[in-house]
Subunit: 209 residues, 2 copies
């Protein structure tokens, strides 16, 4: 079995429940590590540096870009968001499957640099449910909801770049499904080449013997 961790990108529509799924994976299984993003946006009420985000000044962030200390970064509503390289590499080397929650722009950057990244897209069962989940929060104006719907339509354009399109209809089932997918991914032939090579070499030894 491949002992190196897998880099897993989780994206999904707002309201798809992807945040809860990731929290449950981390709570239930010890093979996961969650990457924390860096951002230049200001901390919101209750957010802590190093927990929700690493909060950086614009200058600090641009230094990280210049030093190639981020494996991806993107701008959104005037702020930078990015994934620090060091933590990801360290956890992968320890054999952890590292989960990143990022959007399509960053996901595609990562897939390009690390082609064996697993890209998961989480969705409610249909657009109507998606709309209901957004409206159901009851905390946002119709305008905000509509802008989120517009964003969802935009994100939907990129789904073909992902590996799996996962329906979150029942949270319990969905968490297990995602966990099994990541587990199964370790048995991909492309991730087992060393082991295959070893078995081949041993088989040849036996034939000679």
């Amino acid at each position: 079995m491949d002992r190196k961790g897998i880099l897993v990108v989780v994206s999904g529509f707002s309201g798809s429940g992807k945040g809860t799924i990731m929290k449950e994976l981390l709570r239930r299984y010890d093979n996961y590590a969650l990457s924390i993003s860096a951002t230049t946006r200001s901390p919101r009420e209750g957010e802590e540096d190093g927990r929700e985000y690493f909060f950086k000044t614009r200058e600090e962030f641009e230094k990280m870009i210049a030093e190639d200390a981020l494996i991806e970064h993107a701008s959104y509503v005037g702020n930078y968001y990015g994934t620090p390289r060091a933590y990801v590499e360290q956890q992968l080397a320890l054999g952890k499957d590292v989960i990143l929650e990022i959007e399509i722009q960053g996901a595609l950057q990562i897939k390009k640099r690390f082609p064996d990244t697993l890209l998961l897209f989480i969705s409610p069962p249909d657009a109507r449910t998606l709309k209901e989940r957004l409206v159901g929060r009851g905390t946002e104006s119709m305008e905000v909801i509509e802008s989120r719907l517009a964003r969802a339509a935009e994100e939907a354009e990129g789904i073909e770049s992902y590996d799996y399109f996962i329906i979150n209809d029942d949270l319990e089932i969905c968490v297990e499904q995602v966990h099994q997918m990541i587990k199964g991914e370790h048995s991909r032939v492309s991730r087992s080449l060393e082991l295959i090579h070893e078995i081949r070499t041993e088989l040849k030894e036996f034939q000679k013997g």
Copy 2:
């Protein structure tokens, strides 16, 4: 969720336990159908036509080839082996995941004609265990065992063409792993394009509304 069945090819070293894994999948879950091969070799003691194989004359078999009634066929030790098309297509249309136990030659033919076939290769944890399992049967001469090892070395050359390389160390774990892999495969983006298209269309409707 994709409602069409998946065509699953299971190959593996002799002694890998692939036969038992397939039997267990069929016994435990109702989403599987097992394809039965046609062959020109003679039935062995206890084998029944339509259960282990469909036993055909050389003439009948060649007629099936000519009529494109087989999705793959191969020769082995002077006999034909092949997979009848009709049963596979009918079961896939019913939404069953159809499992074929065939060797690399046939597996590659199928992958070429049906690129969305899932190819699984089952292996013992290492070559030493493989040798022990072959020897352990105690029913074959050293010569036969050596020829099997040689064949295993040959088969090992083709593993890169498969999707998953699955270690059968513990039967119970392995059966569940294979089941989860096939289940997960239904959520591949490439198998969910219709659903993705529907969600996109609905999202656009909402934006207009």
